[in-house]
């Protein structure tokens, strides 16, 4: 069975390395991934990021081709549906343009200034993931593009994706909300609750501690103004099942809008604009209904609200 030959220092080396590993894990848990650990992580990612970007440049066409081949049977059907949606969207766009023109007219009439949405947005490509068991996303934008640790990330439709966990000069790592150990403060109707990831499930657990009324399947869950990690009003998902309060606590599940595994493009929000504003923030990020399509050289836009 096992090789019984004497292995010299193999066993002591194994034990020493496992002890070092356990110490590192304990240190990382105790320091909550900050301090020295964060510095070493950033340093390593800075060294690896250029190689990942170069490899991504080469492998992206390959992955696109494989994706296309695997979806070839659905493409015709999808095209027909998309043509129909495009026609509807064009009609809706004309209606919105008409409303915008009227709004501009009234703003001029009453000498109002648009408050606008002054959250900066950085569009980034997802260039990779660490491995099959790590849900984090690696993107091709970093501090040189204005990204900071803790900034919220949404997809091209404006749905919540996750938080920037670490950032180097040219890349960043995002932890999706579905894999984050920290709860996200959300609002359903007018009730504020916490959203947590669950093990062995794509659904998230919703807890409302001072619940007054039931929640119904299909109700929208958006980020709350009390959230310290997202601006208010970012869509997160839909209630998956009806639930009523028991005494004053309500527990339900939420199906997130975004599946991080399928993301190829994300938008990092420069939020909060300054650390003090987080306390009084009431900015609502409008949900976007268009899909951004960019090539390898992704763009950085600021304050257009989309």
């Amino acid at each position: 069975m096992l090789n019984q030959e004497p292995r010299g220092r193999t066993l002591p080396v194994l034990i020493s390395l496992i002890v070092v590993g356990v110490l590192l894990m304990t240190f990382d848990v105790r320091s909550q991934g900050e301090g020295v650990v964060a510095a070493v992580r950033t340093g390593t990612q800075t060294l690896i990021a250029p190689l990942q970007k170069a490899a991504s440049y080469v492998v992206n066409p390959v992955t696109d081709m494989i994706d296309s081949l695997s979806n070839v049977t659905n493409l015709r059907e999808e095209n027909a549906i998309l043509r129909g949606e495009l026609a509807d969207s064009k009609a809706a766009l004309i209606a919105v343009q008409d409303q915008l023109a009227r709004l501009e007219f009234f703003e001029q009439l009453y000498e109002m200034e648009s408050a606008g949405d002054d959250i900066g947005r950085t569009v980034a490509n997802v260039i990779g993931r660490p491995d099959a068991f790590d849900a984090a996303l690696i993107i091709d934008k970093g501090t040189s593009d204005g990204l900071l640790v803790g900034q919220p990330v949404v997809d091209t439709n404006g749905y919540a994706v996750g938080i920037v966990k670490s950032v180097t000069r040219g890349s960043a790592t995002i932890v999706p909300i579905t894999a984050d150990r920290q709860a996200l403060t959300v609002i359903v109707g007018d009730q504020v609750g916490s959203l947590l990831s669950q093990v062995v499930s794509s659904l998230m657990r919703l807890e409302i501690l001072d619940a007054r009324e039931p929640v119904l399947a299909g109700e929208r869950v958006v980020t709350s103004a009390q959230s310290v990690s997202f601006p208010a009003g970012v869509p997160v998902g839909l209630i998956a099942e009806d639930a009523a309060p028991i005494i004053d606590t309500l527990i339900s599940t939420v199906e997130p809008f975004v599946n991080p595994d399928t993301l190829r493009l994300v938008v990092v929000l420069a939020w909060p604009p300054d650390p003090i504003s987080i306390i009084v923030d009431d900015t609502i990020v409008p949900e976007q209904t268009t899909t951004t399509t960019t090539t390898e050289g992704s763009t950085t836009t600021s304050g257009d609200g989309g």
Binding site: L2, N3, T10, L17, D28, V40, Q52, V126, F133, A179
Partner: protein, 167 residues
Amino acid sequence: MRIPKSLAIATMLLLAVVIQTTLFGQLRVVAPDLVMLVVILFALTRTRAEIVLVTAFGAGLLVDLIGSSLLGLRAIVFTAVAYAALRTKERAGIGRFTTAIWVGALTLLGVILLVLVGTLFGQSSLLGPDVGTRLLVVPIANLILAAVFAPVVVRVIDGDATALRFT
């Protein structure tokens, strides 16, 4: 010209990390653990056992540093898998099929250890919605890759064109 062993090992590991995080990071359906595969295959080379263990630890640490999970988690797992590989490697050299099965079994051990140790240290994100599928897909993908690439990896590291030549 013979490539220095340390350079060959470092290059191979770096290549595995980059391909793992880019190509296989985007193709979620095909999900081998390339770094674990390379670590297991190191055990088949004529590299000293202690160096194989230290290399496995370093490779795991590198993957930990690139990702978002606990620092040291993969370092421990890869070291344990490398030790198991060193202790059983005589069983692997019989043929291409046996080597592939051996790699698949060690990868299965590795991913189970990863989930268990990670869960003990509060890494619940390792238990994602399709953890069961991944526990099977990763070893199978590594098994297939090992059947194809095991001899090449061993020959490059040992600098011996006759190494792991199955009859």
